[in-house]
């Protein structure tokens, strides 16, 4: 198609669009449904999906607007899976800025006081964040086991994809006899994962402080880990744009302790013993409670997912993140 023909086609399409809009064809210029009669009497809103060519860009936008929207890439990078389209699809662990209550159940019988104590520590995050946790007698969205091995949790909205007969969080052997300091350190840390926060010790700045050879030796000696496991667990930094919007914070509750003997500078990476002020501020920023500003979370991202199904690529908005600033 030559330029004249293309311009002619474009003009015809615009005329047709205006005509449809004037005749009240059921959609306005933004793809919103309208009732017959022409005017926008009422709207029904249905989510639309961006064209495939924009998925990567949309993911970047989501990440720019809210850093936690970026996926934790380390395991995929290690496996050589770095297809940008795949990464874009994976960008979905953030719960969103609206207040939300997640239901919690326990996989095994647990005494009332223990269940209440675990819930109390999970809800420590709600001091500043709009996500809270409430026990249900049914099958919770968060399902806690104390009989599996170790401490772990699935990340953010991933918990919704875990089969209902499996736990989403494990707190091995937690009991009323477990010291309060461990509730602060472990339960709040694992709940941070449920909120979508990855490990802070995988931040580039902190990983850079680790002497690789010493780390290999240390974890071989203490855990029997091979180099691949050490790489995956300790030495592969997350994409710096994927995490907290704060400088790397070695006292974050999401940061593990690492001993001085494996650092370049001879100082330990302290690790978080409880939710610190920066954690609280960050949680409050991305999960704002009523009355707090939702700056940078509304606007661009919502606009991006409300656009209609497809359009000419030349009309693509390339700096969507700027719209939210």
């Amino acid at each position: 198609m030559d330029n004249n023909a293309a311009r002619f086609r474009e003009a015809l399409l615009k005329i047709a669009e205006i005509a449809r809009s004037a005749a009240g064809n059921g959609h306005d210029a933004h793809g919103h449904k309208t009732f017959k009669g022409g005017g926008r009497v009422a709207l029904t809103c249905s989510p639309r999906i961006l064209p495939k060519r924009l998925l990567i860009e949309a993911a970047k936008t989501a990440r720019t607007i809210n850093p936690v929207n970026a996926p934790a890439l380390a395991p995929f990078a290690a496996a050589g899976v770095q297809d940008p389209l795949r990464i874009a699809v994976l960008t979905s662990k953030y719960w969103g800025p609206s207040p939300r209550t997640l239901t919690v159940s326990f996989m095994e019988p647990a005494p009332d006081d223990l269940r209440a104590k675990i819930l109390q520590h999970m809800n420590a995050w709600t001091d500043t964040a709009c996500i809270s946790f409430v026990e249900t007698q049914g099958v919770g969205q968060v399902r806690i086991s104390r009989e599996g091995s170790g401490y772990w949790s699935y990340l953010g909205t991933d918990i919704l994809h875990i089969p209902a007969n499996l736990p989403t969080m494990n707190l091995q052997d937690f009991s009323m006899g477990t010291p309060d300091s461990e509730y602060n350190r472990v339960v709040r840390h694992e709940t941070g994962h449920t909120l979508g926060f990855p490990h802070e010790h995988m931040r580039k700045d902190l990983v850079a402080r680790i002497d690789r050879d010493k780390a290999y030796q240390y974890f071989s000696d203490t855990q029997g880990w091979d180099k691949d496991t050490v790489d995956q667990q300790v030495l592969t930094p997350l994409d710096e744009q994927s995490l907290m919007g704060t400088p790397a914070d070695q006292t974050s509750i999401m940061c593990y302790q690492l001993p001085a003997e494996i650092t370049v500078d001879g100082d330990p990476i302290l690790g978080g013993l409880d939710i610190n002020q920066t954690d609280y501020q960050f949680a409050g920023k991305i999960y704002p409670k009523a009355g707090q500003a939702v700056r940078k979370v509304s606007g661009g991202a919502e606009r991006a997912i409300r656009l209609s199904e497809d359009w000419d690529p030349s009309e693509d908005v390339r700096d969507a993140a700027q719209l939210a600033m």
Binding site: G150, R185, Q223, G224, T229
Partner: protein
């Protein structure tokens, strides 16, 4: 028939002696471990992270340390296994287990 021997986190203390046969597969609920002696008798297959099948056949992995170590019994003889459990970033414990493999 070869056996899958699943030694879960509730098995504490761990046995000091484990009697197995060539072909057996041993799974320990542990954050780490290796073969201290007798590598021709027992081979460590690796340390693993329990994961779940997600939508569309994808696999979802939780954030956390490894939680399983697998060993394969290859030959008759004796081996010493080191099993590490607990929290690699905090308190953990190490156990040595003698595995006796008899055909």
């Amino acid at each position: 028939m070869a056996r899958l021997i699943d030694i879960g986190p509730a098995v504490r203390p761990l046995p000091q002696i484990l009697r197995v046969r060539p072909g057996d597969l041993i799974k320990f609920a542990a954050t780490g471990g290796d073969v201290k002696s007798g590598e021709t008798v027992i081979r460590r297959l690796g340390v693993f992270r329990t994961s779940a099948l997600g939508p569309d056949g994808g696999v979802l992995s939780p954030e956390g340390a490894p939680d399983a170590v697998f060993f394969l019994v290859c030959n008759p003889g004796s081996a010493v296994l080191r099993i590490v459990s607990g929290d690699p970033w905090g308190k953990f414990e190490t156990n040595l287990i003698e595995a006796r493999s008899e055909a």
